[in-house]
Symmetry: D2
Subunit: 114 residues, 4 copies
Amino acid sequence: MTDLGKILKELDVILQQRKHADPSESYVARLYEKGVEKIAQKLGEEATETIIEAMKSQGPYFDKNLLAQESADLLFHLLILWAHLGLSQKDVAQILQDRLGVSGLAREKMNQDQ
Amino acid sequence: MTDLGKILKELDVILQQRKHADPSESYVARLYEKGVEKIAQKLGEEATETIIEAMKSQGPYFDKNLLAQESADLLFHLLILWAHLGLSQKDVAQILQDRLGVSGLAREKMNQDQ
Amino acid sequence: MTDLGKILKELDVILQQRKHADPSESYVARLYEKGVEKIAQKLGEEATETIIEAMKSQGPYFDKNLLAQESADLLFHLLILWAHLGLSQKDVAQILQDRLGVSGLAREKMNQDQ
Amino acid sequence: MTDLGKILKELDVILQQRKHADPSESYVARLYEKGVEKIAQKLGEEATETIIEAMKSQGPYFDKNLLAQESADLLFHLLILWAHLGLSQKDVAQILQDRLGVSGLAREKMNQDQ
């Protein structure tokens, strides 16, 4: 029901609509107006918070729901960055698709190995 | 054809399978074995590289394809982190869904406003 | 006159004093009270902002003074992290000293080479 | 003996000298050659690793020496970034000095409060 692909499609439509929204009424329109610098800053903040919540899994206070919240924030701001810079979800999907390729395991190894 | 939701589903299956893979043959299995610390470190690196590519949009050397590559790496390692810590794509989708709610714009404003 | 070593010494004294300060009257005491998670979050934010200002050197809007401001914020929060976790400036100095060693160049190469 | 201010001064001299060094013989000269993008990337990596080591203080595997090592790496690459972009330690010291001002506590509050 709450499929990630489905919600990403909905978000895509909304993020395109927000390009014509009033910055005083939309958080996303406000970020677009402030520009790539502000969006990149938010992305860094959310990535840091995701890392911190993940590291709490090694201590006594891990909260899986907080990790999901920070992850959702990180993903949301990544989508805003793409929309702002004219990158489509399709562009990123194509790269992930190419990496997995026909045989998955082999391509994964080939592409990600250092 | 290359729908992001579709590829995320495929990746989900693969990332679960890799939990039983040989670390010497799979990059993902190797990350699982090294643990959350190493996965979080990779997430931080990919977030940094995404920020750097995004900032290049303000100079003469912006390459949208490089931004897509770094974004794909960031998304891929975020999915690995979720799989490793037992978070499902559904969990994150639910949070994004709740935030958008019925009316999109209103909820976005309510939840994201600072 | 404004020697970085001298100001770091002054900051060290102040950061130790703040351990006994009222959180409602001191930003640093407030960070100590919130704990390592909040301090690490601030460090991530300031690192991101330093990276962003640095990347602006490739575009038309670089402002060296803004880079100095963000760098000062990053350094300040790194010192707060050390103080909070019981790390002394001496501990970090010793590591940097060991790396440089007698001959500087050779040790730098040996220790930092990938 | 291992005073942080003293070692920062030594590093400053070395980092200026490396501007004329052979990239094949010096890690720092290699970073200068690769440019701000690579230096910023290293800064992000070291900041991430410092955050991760700091967060380990909440679990059973905290190693204060590892935190000192990552902190030293972060500081070292921050100094490289300054040297590469023509920022002096004095510039950053001046900003920290201005923030502390005459009365320390008051200025700290004024400048850092959110």
